[in-house]
């Protein structure tokens, strides 16, 4: 079970109908009357909590299953990398712009442009299954990292040291 520890706001409440009887837990995608185990959550409430720039939330529930393999993105590592890239950009700007207040203003402006609103929410429910391979990816984080890297490469290229 993978759960991100990257939170800037309130953690959304996700309820799972785990105490429901066996009959309730039988879910069919083709049956409109069927009750999905994760359908209890209040989506309006979730939307209200999304006020921060970046949130990542992942929930994986596995029940009565065997030989299940789950691979998820290491969000913490990705966020650490993001911070390192931002620090490197700040470093290059600060050594290339003589005035520190100008450097700070430029960095703030640049980071503001690079900010993407990211909300990654994934829920996976596996029940009565065998031989399942699940892979989840956090594309938003990967895109943001690529963008920051491109900016850093462009800045370093201007130093003529590559």
């Amino acid at each position: 079970m993978g759960e991100s520890k990257v939170w800037a706001g309130d953690r959304p409440t996700v309820k799972c109908n785990s105490t429901a009887g066996a009959a309730d837990r039988k879910w069919s995608a083709l049956d409109p009357a069927s009750f999905h185990p994760l359908s209890e959550q209040d989506t309006e409430e979730l939307e209200a909590t999304v006020k921060t720039i970046q949130e990542s939330f992942e929930q994986i529930i596995i029940k009565d299953s065997a030989d299940v393999e789950v691979t998820t993105t290491d969000t913490q590592a990705a966020v650490n990398l993001q911070v390192a890239l931002q620090a490197a950009i700040t470093l290059i700007i600060s050594i290339s712009v003589a005035d520190s207040s100008e450097a700070e203003r430029l960095t703030t402006d640049l980071m503001g442009n690079l900010k993407t609103h990211q909300v990654n929410r994934q829920q996976t429910y596996i029940e009565n299954s065998r031989g399942v391979r699940v892979t989840t990816t956090d594309t938003d984080l990967a895109v943001n990292l690529q963008l920051l890297l491109q900016v850093l490469v462009s800045l370093v290229a201007r130093l003529d040291i590559l």
Binding site: T137, D138, L147
Partner: protein
């Protein structure tokens, strides 16, 4: 064909980022000056960039390999 397309996308991304930076410098009326760096400092920056590139590559590779 796929490589050609990828190259075009990469070029477009590079150009866009260059323009974004030019615009940010211009808007803030900031002049980018090449600092005087020692050989060691230049190497440190190159190493830092290489490490970060590898980090991003590994993370995105993990995702695409899956």
């Amino acid at each position: 064909m796929a490589n050609f397309k990828k190259m075009n996308v990469d070029d477009a991304t590079r150009k866009s980022v260059d323009l974004l930076l030019d615009n940010a410098f211009k808007r803030n009326k900031v002049a980018f000056k090449k600092p005087k760096l020692s050989k060691r400092e230049k190497q440190e920056i190159r190493d830092l960039l290489k490490n970060l590139q590898d980090g991003v590559k590994n993370l995105t590779k993990q995702q695409t390999d899956k």
